[in-house]
């Protein structure tokens, strides 16, 4: 199952290479993504109806259409499109007579920069949980579970042996489960 970012990236590459079908697919994916994204931004700003959100989504789609050349291929598509959406949300918000304060602008920061933004804040929570572990348990978990490295790669990176990395993950997960008490965490997935 491909992630949204992978699907978007593929459609974007093909559309930029000159494939009209891929372009339609890109627009459809973006429209779906934008719908939830824009609604969430509006609700964080404390307002905006669904009709407002749809207007902004359409504005954003038109901008995307006329500004495809501004996509920077070295960044994920979601980062690019979220930046455009953010600009359009602020624009609409200002146009409706609101005055944005810096604090409210800052509330968007993680929408812009974090590719894992489908569930904002989750990564921060995970990192906070992990920070309670000692290094020899935390690093293997970060490498293998969060960054997606293999056990061998993590071992090479940290200078630990492979079995030490495996043991670290196992014990780390156990300790997290004991500390925070959620049954799901106890699953020693290898």
């Amino acid at each position: 199952m491909a992630t949204l970012e992978e699907e978007l990236g593929l459609a974007m590459r093909q559309a930029r290479a000159g494939c009209p079908k891929a372009y339609r697919r890109l627009l459809e994916l973006l429209s779906r993504h934008l719908k939830t994204h824009v609604r969430r931004m509006l609700s964080r700003l404390g307002g905006g109806s669904i009709a407002d959100a749809d207007d902004i989504v359409q504005e954003a789609l038109i901008s995307i259409h006329s500004r495809l050349h501004t996509y920077d291929a070295s960044y994920p598509v979601t980062v690019w499109v979220n930046a455009i959406a953010r600009y359009k949300v602020i624009d609409a918000y200002r146009a409706s007579g609101h005055r944005l304060k810096q604090v409210q602008l800052d509330a968007f920061e993680d929408c812009l920069a974090d590719p894992v933004e489908q569930q904002p804040g989750v990564m921060q929570d995970v990192k906070r949980l992990l920070s309670s572990l000692p290094n020899n348990l935390r690093r293997p978990i970060e490498d293998v579970k969060l960054l997606g490295l293999t056990v061998a790669e993590s071992a090479a990176r940290s200078g630990m042996s492979e079995s030490a990395v495996k043991i670290g993950i196992h014990r780390g997960m156990k300790r997290l489960a004991a500390t925070f008490g959620a049954g799901r965490l106890a699953d020693p997935v290898m």
Partner: protein, 217 residues
């Protein structure tokens, strides 16, 4: 109802598909800045003229520090500009790379102090009010290329409009300065490293003030 609208919009946008010109920003701003240089250099040549010792200065390499600084400034300001024209970039993180030419000129200033001791008044201010001429002429010459760069921003998608305008003003000023450098008789690193960046900042400030109005999209 609204869903239908969005679907219709997608239909019509998809029907208008045309191949994407991925390097549009780079190409158009490159051409614009080249034209800006030629126009600025011609204007200077026709009005205040190039410095009479330009050939000698080039041959002896006395002017080298100045031109290295100018060319690095043009290149890096251009790089910052093409980034700022795209969504998601902020000037705070982009402006950092301009530390490279500033660092270079700082080293040149220190080397100069080593050899020439304390800077004299002429080394800092130029011979006869050159510093004022530099700060006035560079921003004036930068106005036309800046207008072109703001038009490019309008057709791009800068999300930090103030920052993008700052970058546009800066880029335009560096190209104006490159042209003006052929007139300006002051080659000392202190002069170049002090007054030219101030002139750049004046233009950048103008760009930053104008862009939120003129480059909206």
């Amino acid at each position: 109802m609204t869903n239908l609208d969005t679907d219709q919009l997608i239909d019509s946008l998809a029907a208008q598909y045309r191949p994407v010109d991925t390097a549009w920003i780079e190409r158009v701003s490159g051409l614009l800045i080249l034209a800006g240089f030629l126009v600025s250099a011609s204007l200077i040549w026709l009005t205040i003229g190039f410095r009479t010792d330009l050939v000698i200065a080039l041959e002896t390499g006395r002017i080298l520090t100045k031109y290295v600084f100018m060319l690095a400034s043009v290149g890096l300001a251009g790089r910052i500009f093409v980034h700022m024209a795209r969504p998601g970039y902020r000037i705070q993180s982009q402006a950092r790379i301009y530390g490279v030419p500033l660092g270079f000129i700082l080293v040149a200033i220190l080397i100069q102090f080593q050899f020439a001791g304390e800077p004299t008044r002429a080394m800092v201010l130029g011979e006869t009010g050159n510093w004022l001429a530099c700060m006035a002429i560079v921003p004036v010459l930068s106005v036309v290329p800046m207008a072109g760069l703001l038009a490019i921003l309008r057709r791009s998608a800068p999300t930090d409009l103030t920052g993008a305008g700052f970058a546009a003003g800066m880029f335009a000023a560096t190209i104006a300065a490159l042209a003006y450098a052929a007139h300006c008789p002051c080659d000392t690193p202190v002069f170049v490293g002090l007054w030219y960046p101030i002139a750049f900042l004046i233009s950048a400030g103008i760009g930053a003030a104008l862009a939120p109005r003129l480059a909206r999209w």
